[in-house]
């Protein structure tokens, strides 16, 4: 068995499974890798099939060629990626080497190793995508690969193609209860166990720790979900949904950055008033550490902390979708614990923005009081004809001056940036806060979806007595943006309604409903499946009264449940297959019953022949019928004349012996 040649039929299953498992990777790989992959798989099928002599005679030639191509492939991959360590290059190597393994497969061991490489190919797909469609696709691949294993072990080739798939699916369906027990109860620990490759998480969009012209308007082109929020009570009104992110202090006139971090400092003193707002935020991976909470977060959740300027940060970069329970108070008074912050909030780039400085000094002279200056500035903003647009004209020289006095068209980042500089020039400490504003309510699941296009920037100014207060210059220029949300501002194309249906309201409504449902399913998937980690496991166990459970207790519970479930499956599998009564026997029993009613019961020790003999003796009238039926029955049961079954059935059905008379 161990050294038998692998038949083409078995190799074909293997090749199909591997090709399907690596298929999603093809678009991510240099084009020659999938081509080589498929070529090797096809060659393994084609060469022995069409050129069996070549295959068996020229094995050594093939081996040398294989070795050369393989080493060459590794070198080219090294050339392409510049490394042999990392996620992407790892996948490239796996896709290539798995095909080489299939190509050289000739024994049972090779077959199994190739199949296991196929399972590894499946798992690598999940490092790129964990969506429901990916999971469903991979499930199909697993069914095919398992059917391939069944085919391999079906040594007499007794199963039909359909039966193979059926058995494969049956095995996998029966695995699901065990899978659930393992998934829920297997003690989870926080990864990573060792360093992750640098490219483990790439391609995540989101708010950054700096803001330059165009950085937010680029985000606004994206419909990607930033995070989803479920509120304990009602969803607050749109205009109060300011999701606070990075706070930017330093500017060169164009670009804003956080400046030197105030790490190690305690959060500034704050006083909360009013009712607390409780909500769950499920954030998509950003590979950064900001968590976006409603202004102002009062209790940071576990593994997060508040900086001195009230940015909510996680201890580890958000590399996977995660859920947090947050508490916020919408009315608060935010002070400062360090007066140098006020000085930092006044810094301006040297000799820049002359027009802005001029307006600032004018306001300052006229109103003197910071609160009055702020009001006047906002009033000025309202009166000028500012336009809120996603395609602002190019501003190259002095961005702030050009925006405020010349072009007067811009996006939230322009407003926030220019207004903060105006405030600083007028002697009022100010800073830029970036984050998200608003969100879209999903009525299907009654939660809020905040997308990348909800990215926003606003200003915080320092007023004596009032502390840091939020001022959103964009709200002055474009009240719709804040009151009704971003969907009403951005072009339809981004909202992604199928072409040609924009004007059909029913279609649009249906489309939106469908989209909302899909998003809700994704949200639940994210919360309960993808977000299931050590924290959720603890929460889940708490529901069953296990307040502080350690891994030992969890393992114990796991084994208890595994024992119960596996026994249940075993009992089910064993009970499902009752003893058969051959159909011929069933008919024959009917025949015996009929004779018993007619007065001739079959005795337990009587075989069919003896019984027939006795019955015939006492009933000459039905002698020939009894003989016919007995002959048919014996023929079917002992000589496998199974084609006579229908004849037997007909004979027995029409057999109606009269009751024996007393004579």
């Amino acid at each position: 068995m161990t050294n038998q040649e692998l038949s083409i039929n078995k190799v074909m299953w293997l090749a199909l499974g591997l090709a399907l498992a690596s298929f999603p990777h093809w678009q991510r790989l240099p084009i020659w890798i999938p081509i080589l992959h498929v070529s090797l798989l096809l060659a393994r099928i084609y060469i022995p099939l069409r050129l069996p002599l070549f295959w068996s005679n020229k094995k050594s030639t093939i081996n040398i060629a294989r070795l050369i191509i393989m080493i060459g492939g590794v070198f080219i991959i090294y050339g392409n990626y510049g490394t042999l360590a990392g996620r992407d290059v790892g996948v490239a190597l796996l896709v290539m080497l798995a095909a080489f393994k299939v190509f050289e497969s000739k024994s049972k061991r090779d077959f199994y190793i190739s199949t296991y490489l196929g399972y590894f190919l499946i798992i690598t797909n999940f490092f790129y995508s964990q969506t429901i469609p990916t999971a469903a696709y991979m499930m199909i691949v697993i069914i095919i690969m398992t059917a391939g294993l069944i085919n391999f072990n079906d040594t007499e080739q007794q199963l039909t193609l359909f039966q193979r798939f059926k058995l494969s699916s049956t095995l996998l369906i029966q695995s699901i209860p065990i899978l659930l027990v393992l998934f829920i109860l297997f003690p989870r620990i926080n990864g990573p166990l060792w360093g992750l490759p640098k490219d483990a998480y790439t391609g995540t969009t989101g708010i950054d720790d700096q803001m330059s012209p165009g950085s937010i308007s680029k985000l606004v082109q994206s419909r990607e979900v930033a995070f989803r929020v479920t509120f304990k009570d009602e969803i607050p009104k749109q205009s109060s949904l300011y999701w606070r992110g990075p706070v930017l202090w330093q500017t060169d006139g164009r670009k804003w950055t956080t400046g030197k971090s105030g790490s190690g400092r305690d959060p500034a003193p704050i006083e909360f008033a009013g009712e607390a707002l409780l909500y769950d935020v499920t954030i998509e991976p950003t590979n950064k550490r900001w968590l976006f909470g409603l202004e102002m977060v009062s209790i940071p959740p576990a593994n997060t902390y508040l900086t001195h300027d009230y940015q909510l940060k996680t201890r580890k970069a958000l590399q996977a979708r995660k859920a947090f329970t947050l508490t916020s108070h919408s009315s608060y008074t935010l002070g400062t614990e360090n007066d140098t912050d006020l000085e930092r909030g006044l810094r301006l780039p040297e000799a820049n923005h002359p027009k802005t400085r001029e307006l600032a000094s004018k306001l300052r002279e006229e109103f003197r009081e910071p609160a009055l200056i702020l009001n006047a500035a906002l009033e000025w903003l309202k009166q000028e004809n500012f336009v809120y647009t996603l395609q602002p004209p190019l501003m190259v020289e002095d961005m702030v001056d050009e925006f405020l006095f010349d072009k007067q068209q811009g996006f939230c980042e322009h407003y926030a940036s220019a207004f903060t500089i105006l405030m600083r020039a007028a002697g009022i400490p100010a800073r830029v806060v970036t984050g998200y504003q608003g969100g879209e309510i999903n009525p299907v699941g009654n939660y809020l979806i905040v997308r990348q296009y909800d990215a926003h920037a606003w200003t915080e100014v320092w007023l004596e007595n009032k502390g840091w207060i939020r001022v959103d210059p964009t709200a002055i220029a474009s009240p719709t943006r804040i009151n009704e949300g971003m969907e009403n501002i951005i072009p339809q194309a981004i909202i992604d309604i199928p072409l040609g249906l924009e004007n059909n309201t029913t279609a649009v409504r249906l489309w939106q409903r469908l989209r909302n449902t899909v998003d809700m399913v994704n949200y639940q998937w994210a919360q309960w499946v993808l977000g299931y980690g050590p924290e959720r496991q603890k929460l889940f166990m708490k529901k069953f009264g296990f307040d502080s459970i350690d891994w030992k207790q969890l393992t114990f519970i796991l084994f208890v449940f595994l024992g119960i479930i596996i026994s249940a499956i075993a009992i089910y599998v064993f009970k499902k297959t009752p003893k058969t009564t051959a159909p011929a026997k069933r008919y024959y029993d009917i025949f015996c019953n009929k004779l018993a009613k007619a007065g001739i019961p079959r005795r337990s020790y009587e075989g069919p022949v003896a019984f027939a003999e006795r019955a015939s003796k006492s009933r000459q009238d039905i002698k020939s019928e009894i003989k016919n039926i007995t002959d048919l029955y014996i023929g079917i049961r002992y000589y496998s004349n199974n084609n006579k079954l229908l004849q037997l059935k007909a004979a027995i059905t029409s057999f109606t012996p009269k009751k024996m008379t007393a004579s």
């Binding site: 296991y116 964990q130 079906d154 297959t577």
Partner: protein, 328 residues
């Protein structure tokens, strides 16, 4: 019957050979253990689990757990594939030494579940631990639901006598090959092995005897002398078919004649051979030749005397006597 495999074996017959007359059931425990592929699979799962923890990837956990569950379910199905089978045998056809004995082994599946890829292997049990056992022929068989299925298990024969089927291992790796379930039997199945029919001498016609028989008439082949009732073993060509057609039952034509001769194959006729086995082979060869030549022959070897006769039954009787010589 749920968790075992049943051996249905003929009652122990001191002569060692019998058909299945009445059943003697023997339950055998089914064992299960991962195969090499199964251990590799477990290793793969551990690597996957480490990857899943490291990347904190829920779907990777999911896949790893799914495959682990699949392995466990596979274990149940592998076990199920073997249990509940009933193994029995009918009398194998006797063979000449050097030929392959074919043991007709029947696997009866009385459950509504087809069994696939059941492997049979018979081998002598190793006396010492760690000694590499002699591998037997591996036969593979599938059994449909609710039906018996028979496989002819070949065993090479080298010496005449009674060949006992060695310990029989019934095993299966189906469906995924991750686990192997097996059961052992001491089946007590026997096959009669005639001596190899070989010899360097043609029939010893010089020892043909014209026998003087008391009752005057002597079975011969020359002149028709009447009918007698058929006895099993009578040559088919002596049956009076016409009489049979007249519904007079099976009658055998009897002939008489002075020319009827019998050949007594006795120990003396092979006295020139030193080796007992060669003697038996020579006698065996002569039995076949005499049968072919339609010469009445008898056999006389120590402890056994078979009166002259002809026909397949007679031949088998003689061959069996030769096979059993020395170990009745």
């Amino acid at each position: 019957m749920g968790m075992s495999v049943v051996l249905e074996r003929p009652p122990v017959d001191p002569s060692g050979i019998t058909g299945v007359l009445s059943k003697q059931l023997k339950r055998q425990r089914v064992y299960i253990f991962p195969t090499l592929q199964g251990w590799l699979y477990a290793l793969m799962l551990i690597v996957m689990l480490l990857g899943a923890i490291n990347y904190n990837n829920s779907m990777a956990f999911m896949l790893c757990f799914l495959l682990a569950s699949l392995g466990l379910v596979c274990m149940i199905h592998t076990y199920r594939n073997l249990t509940g089978l009933i193994l029995s045998s009918t009398l194998p056809k006797a063979v000449f030494a050097g030929q392959q004995a074919l043991f007709p082994i029947q696997l009866d599946n009385r459950l509504s579940l087809a069994r696939y890829a059941i492997q049979l292997e018979s081998y002598a049990t190793a006396k010492r631990l760690f000694r590499k056992r002699k591998q037997g022929h591996i036969a593979s068989i599938s059994v449909e639901a609710g039906k018996p299925s028979t496989i002819h298990y070949p065993v090479k024969t080298s010496a005449r006598g009674i060949l006992k089927l060695e310990r029989l291992k019934l095993s299966t790796n189906f469906p995924l090959g991750l686990f192997s379930a097996w059961a052992y039997f001491e089946p007590e199945f026997h096959c009669l092995v005639y001596p190899a029919a070989k010899g360097d001498k043609q029939l010893p016609l010089n020892s043909l005897q014209k026998e003087n028989v008391d009752y005057g008439m002597q079975a011969g082949t020359d002149d028709f002398s009447g009918f007698r009732k058929y006895r099993p073993g009578d040559p088919v060509n002596s049956i009076a078919w016409k009489a049979y057609a007249r519904e007079q039952g099976l009658l055998v034509k009897q002939f008489s004649g002075k020319g009827s001769q019998t050949l007594m194959l006795s120990w003396n006729t092979v006295a020139y051979i030193n080796d007992v086995e060669s003697c038996l082979s020579q006698l065996c060869y002569w039995v076949l030749l005499a049968e072919k030549a339609d010469i009445h022959y008898g056999l006389e070897i120590p402890d056994t005397k078979i009166d002259p006769g002809l026909g397949s039954h007679h031949k088998e009787h003689c061959l069996e006597a030769l096979a059993r010589y020395g170990n009745q």
